[in-house]
Symmetry: D2
Subunit: 127 residues, 4 copies
Amino acid sequence: MDHVRHMFEHDLFAKHAGIELISVSPGQATAKMSLQPWHLNGVNTVQGGAIFTLADFAFAAAANSRDKVAVAVNVSITFMKAATTGTLTAEAREVALNPKLGTYTVNVTDEQGSLIAIFQGLAYRKS
Amino acid sequence: MDHVRHMFEHDLFAKHAGIELISVSPGQATAKMSLQPWHLNGVNTVQGGAIFTLADFAFAAAANSRDKVAVAVNVSITFMKAATTGTLTAEAREVALNPKLGTYTVNVTDEQGSLIAIFQGLAYRKS
Amino acid sequence: MDHVRHMFEHDLFAKHAGIELISVSPGQATAKMSLQPWHLNGVNTVQGGAIFTLADFAFAAAANSRDKVAVAVNVSITFMKAATTGTLTAEAREVALNPKLGTYTVNVTDEQGSLIAIFQGLAYRKS
Amino acid sequence: MDHVRHMFEHDLFAKHAGIELISVSPGQATAKMSLQPWHLNGVNTVQGGAIFTLADFAFAAAANSRDKVAVAVNVSITFMKAATTGTLTAEAREVALNPKLGTYTVNVTDEQGSLIAIFQGLAYRKS
């Protein structure tokens, strides 16, 4: 998993967004984002882009936890509940894998365990 | 459109991500993001979360350009091409509208006009 | 669950597609489709529309298993593997629920348990 | 376009669903479905699976109108309005193309030109 850790330590936008990789193992990854005032949008809830960035980061870590480099091709995200403070957690897990494509589901939850967003990502695996 | 401009001037995460609202009119909006080194991921291309945040911002501006407050419920984004430098532009346009739901397509292009990502957003319109 | 069973017994297109509702309970439903030659497309694999119809039917049953009428607003489906013969099974389960929206994941598998498609559906709950 | 026509003339599920390919040219395709009582669901509107099948068929025709065989990997569909009678039309057009992936948008409209569903499909292009 060292190559994954290395890749994600050099992800400057994730750093800029205050995201931290907590763990990664084959087909799984967890990331966190401690909410700051600058994560909010004009109606004082966490901006959708910040939530997406957290989920996408966990997805990318999980997708690259295997033997091939994987790049996101399509993502669908559903926002279930607004978040405002505390720490958000994204847990990515592989739901299907074939030589060319991997599919991952990421749940983003708040500190109370409430589901904030569900993210489904499809990654293309380079040969 | 003043309420939309006001809402987006107070979007702190969009500011943090270096995004600027260029124009908004009923059912349409354009936003830009001038790429900086901190927009990049661990493989030196623009991070997916940054591209999403730009597209989502244009989507939210277009969705709120009507008489009702609209919140994103579901978004699907397809990444077509990696971007590295220059300025990215997101153009959102309404493709369907009913009393409860609005659907928007956002094209994200680079300075050469190449399509970087296609974003389709569904917004729930509050009464 | 009788109103759900009644609704689905009158779903003529599902009948036309050879789909059968196996079980429904709050937040969950299972449906099956025994493959026939007319489920195939021009390259002799099960047509995507047939797989979608099966998954969508299980989703609709699960979404209507609660106290409100729910209608599909957005669905994302990822096709993982081609299917050709046997019986396909779709299992829908609720992953999130709030007063207005419900989110469901449906796994479509073949007789060997291989994942054929993953479906994520968002339903609007009428008041 | 003869190979596309041939492929779609042998699509048995599309035939079973009453779908007709109207036209195909590079990057575009149009299909129609004349609604019959058996296209309806348990609440007497056109079943989502029937609408998807129509849109998916136009998508597949457009995606295969180029020099490579293309298979659907991911689709997102948003249902905007219920349909009941008449003929539905699906118009697919290519919005982006690279050597591995093509993206297509399909609009499904009724006889009055109202938008019934918007479909966005991603196809993997085999080499």
